[in-house]
């Protein structure tokens, strides 16, 4: 078991630009079932992907691959033709929220939005649109989701992952890699690693992911990596205290960040005295979460939490 994605996940790519093309190639090399692309101006064409297999991914494959993806005008058409149940969005910021809504309207189970720089106003509308849909949105402005050895959706490097027993949830891409790599080096591995994104309005938060990992029999512990801004970490901590039976470790970035400054991510800002690293760390400690003092100690904190 794992959460969100697995070997049966069939993925569409929305936005076959330079970035989308590059990461589709990596995903196919990893062994992800990419089944089609949605790119209206290239509808009717097909996109050929060939190369060397990434053997850190899905096991038991040949050393090379050759996949020809059909390109569709709409997500609806793509779903009808391919049976896709998930999509990954690389569409440029001005059109990304619309692409997310299109995926939800087509009934996909999962939409992973990688795009950075989506206007908040667009995400407010998209979130409202998704409210009565079954579709789960991950992101935007995130590295994506990976279940090692089964399915990689997003921009994370596959080879640092190893299938194991820890669920990873993070607002930051590179900090996810740090945590994942430390878990791999310690032989703990990951069940699924999820980047929920650095934007102020996103689809899935710590609470949602914690609940999924709590229900996943393969996951034995969870590491949650947060940063300044908002109260998603505090909400997560409350969930851990009241509902989680599994051990949780954590790290919060931004203890040295000055207030009122946006630290790279649109959502990483301390404003009006809210969203400080101190408040989050305090809430997480109070919930019994084993905190890492520096990012280099994240793996070690997970080991301590597992006892």
């Amino acid at each position: 078991m794992s959460v969100l994605v697995g070997k049966d996940t069939k993925v569409l790519i929305q936005g076959l630009g330079k970035t989308g093309q590059f990461h589709t190639e990596k995903a196919i090399a990893y062994g992800t079932q990419m089944v089609g692309a949605v790119h209206p101006s290239r509808a009717g064409e097909s996109a050929l992907f060939e190369g060397e297999t990434d053997h850190s991914g899905v096991p038991g494959r040949d050393d090379t691959y050759s996949v020809e993806l059909p390109v569709f005008a709409t997500v609806n058409e793509a779903v009808a033709a391919t049976g896709a149940n998930a999509s990954v969005v690389y569409v440029p910021p001005p059109f990304a929220a619309d692409a997310i809504m299109e995926a939800a309207a087509a009934g996909l189970d999962l939409v992973v939005a990688i795009t950075e720089g989506v206007p908040v106003g667009d995400m407010i509308v998209a979130k409202r649109f998704l409210a009565d849909k079954a579709t789960r949105l991950i992101g935007p402005n995130c590295p994506g989701v990976i279940t090692p050895g089964e399915c990689k959706i997003g921009i994370m490097p596959g080879y640092i992952h190893e299938r194991g027993r820890i669920g990873v949830i993070s607002r930051s891409g590179t900090l996810t890699y740090e945590a994942v790599y430390q878990l791999t080096l310690r032989g703990l591995g990951q069940t699924t690693a999820v980047g929920i994104g650095g934007d102020p309005v996103n689809g899935t938060n710590f609470v949602d992911m914690l609940a999924m990992f709590e229900d996943d029999p393969e996951t034995e512990g969870v590491i949650m990596i947060g940063e300044i801004g908002g109260t998603a970490e505090e909400d997560g901590a409350e969930f851990v205290a009241s509902r989680m039976s599994k051990p949780v470790a954590g790290f919060i970035a931004g203890t040295s960040a000055p207030p009122g400054k946006r630290m790279g991510h649109a959502g990483a800002i301390v404003s009006g005295g809210k969203g400080t690293a101190e408040a989050k760390i305090e809430a997480m400690k109070a919930a019994g979460i084993e905190m890492a003092e520096t990012p280099s100690d994240m793996g070690e904190a997970m080991v301590r939490a597992l006892g």
């Binding site: 910021p93 001005p94 720089g117 206007p119 908040v120 106003g121 667009d122 995400m123 407010i124 509308v125 979130k127 409202r128 590295p143 921009i155 994370m156 490097p157 080879y159 640092i160 607002r171 930051s172 891409g173 590179t174 900090l175 890699y177 740090e178 790599y181 650095g198 102020p200 309005v201 996103n202 990596i225 940063e227 300044i228 801004g229 908002g230 109260t231 998603a232 909400d235 790290f251 970035a253 931004g254 203890t255 040295s256 960040a257 000055p258 009122g260 400054k261 630290m263 790279g264 991510h265 649109a266 959502g267 990483a268 009006g272 005295g273 003092e293 520096t294 990012p295 280099s296 100690d297």
Partner: protein, 407 residues
């Protein structure tokens, strides 16, 4: 992106939101020339002279050069002495305010230079209220916040008397409903014409927030005048940077003198840089890792000089610019490069570092930690370059090494 009060009021006035009459001035003569028409047009002998900087607390702030002079001044000489007297008082004050450095609770001790003054009609105030439209991240929607405690520090109100803070959530599918605007008016103790005026006012403000993609609109105070009108006496607006592509009229309002030149240069090269006060320059890929790198430096006893995220796909030129920006800061006594190569390959970064050091020169210690994709090639490039670089095994190891070296 932030704009000045006078610009916010122009945007509001153009969208039917009542604001006092006012004129912006960049010279003493312009400020003086604004007085008579304002007095004649408004019928009020009082004008207000307001410093325009991108920071709050201007009314209570004082100037470095003139410690007895406040950032906002009410000109009352016109009541007894007529327009000439008001003009003379404006001349005297504007001369001292323009070009001087205003320090408020939000500017930090170094303050900000006043390049613009806003000359505004005086208003007879019956009540001062608070109104804002901002994002509630928990629900992923904008909310309207209002309070009877106008003119106060709203964070203090939220902390000490949260009951005095009214809030209405805005459903993006229907925007602010009439009943919600009435709820707010009622909660603020308004009735009759003032309540009707407020209802129109708050709905117009909410429309502006959606139309212009604001991060924040804050009107503090919003005043009810003695003759029952509802007017924005102050106006603060900040915009979502990610939405500026569809608002060229807002981009045109950018006042670059309000921004840090190094931060501007970084932004133009696609780098994310924020200057801080410490001595250790940081060059990192990824916003979260960049923040955590600063934290770790602090944790092991150092002080970061900056936040710098080169992003996921930086090339050699960007790495060189990043080095230039970091080394330009005279406080920098050492540099820590921390890269976890995912998509970004360590050999590319290493080549960039070597080229940058050769172009820019380096007279402070440099610690480099590389991890991830093509890490071995990256390390090899650096060791073969002959540069005086200290290698680190982990983030913490690197932080400890650079802190030791600058000591």
């Amino acid at each position: 992106m932030k704009i000045h009060e006078y610009q916010a009021k122009q945007l509001m006035a153009a969208r039917g939101i009542p604001v006092p009459l006012g004129r912006v001035a960049t010279t003493v003569e312009e400020a003086v020339a604004a007085v008579r028409p304002l007095i004649e047009e408004s019928g009020s002998p009082v004008v207000v002279l307001k410093s325009q900087i991108h920071a709050g607390g201007r009314g209570k702030g004082t100037f470095l050069e003139h410690p007895d002079l406040r950032g906002v001044n009410v000109i009352t000489a016109g009541i007894a002495g007529g327009p000439e007297a008001a003009e003379e008082q404006v001349r005297d004050l504007a001369t001292r305010m323009l070009g001087s450095t205003l320090v408020t609770i939000q500017t930090g001790p170094e303050g900000k230079v006043v390049n613009f003054l806003y000359v505004e009609q005086g208003v007879d105030i019956a009540r001062e209220l608070y109104l804002a439209v901002l994002l509630d991240r928990t629900v992923g929607r904008n909310i309207v916040m209002a309070s009877t405690e106008g003119g106060m520090d709203i964070e203090k109100v939220a902390e000490e008397t949260p009951d005095l803070l009214l809030r209405e959530e805005i459903d993006p599918a229907i925007s602010l409903a009439d009943f919600q605007a009435r709820e707010l008016a009622h909660g603020l103790g308004m009735n009759g014409e003032a309540a009707a005026a407020f209802t129109q006012f708050v709905k117009a403000v909410e429309r502006v927030a959606t139309e212009l993609d604001t991060d924040l609109i804050e009107i503090n105070p919003l005043v009810v005048t003695t003759d029952g009108r509802v007017v924005a006496l102050d106006g603060k607006m900040a915009f979502d940077d990610n939405a500026l592509f569809r608002h060229p009229e807002i981009v045109a309002m950018r006042d670059e003198t309000e921004e840090d030149p190094a931060e501007l240069e970084a932004k133009e090269t696609g780098l994310n840089y924020i200057k801080l006060d410490g001595t250790i320059g940081c060059l990192v890929n990824g916003a979260g890792l960049a923040m955590a790198t600063m934290d770790t430096i602090k944790h092991v006893g150092g002080e970061p000089a900056n936040f710098l995220d080169v992003g996921g796909g930086a090339d050699e030129a960007q790495v060189t610019t990043a080095f230039q920006i970091i080394t330009k800061d005279p406080n920098v006594k050492g540099i820590f490069v921390n890269i976890f190569g995912g998509i970004m390959r360590c050999d590319v970064i290493a080549t960039g570092i070597v080229a940058a050091v050769k172009t820019v020169g380096l007279d402070v210690p440099l610690v480099v930690r590389l991890e991830g994709t093509n890490v071995e090639q990256g390390k090899q490039i650096i060791s073969e370059s002959g540069l005086d670089v200290v290698a680190a095994d982990s983030l913490k190891d690197g932080a400890e090494k650079i802190v030791e070296l600058v000591r």
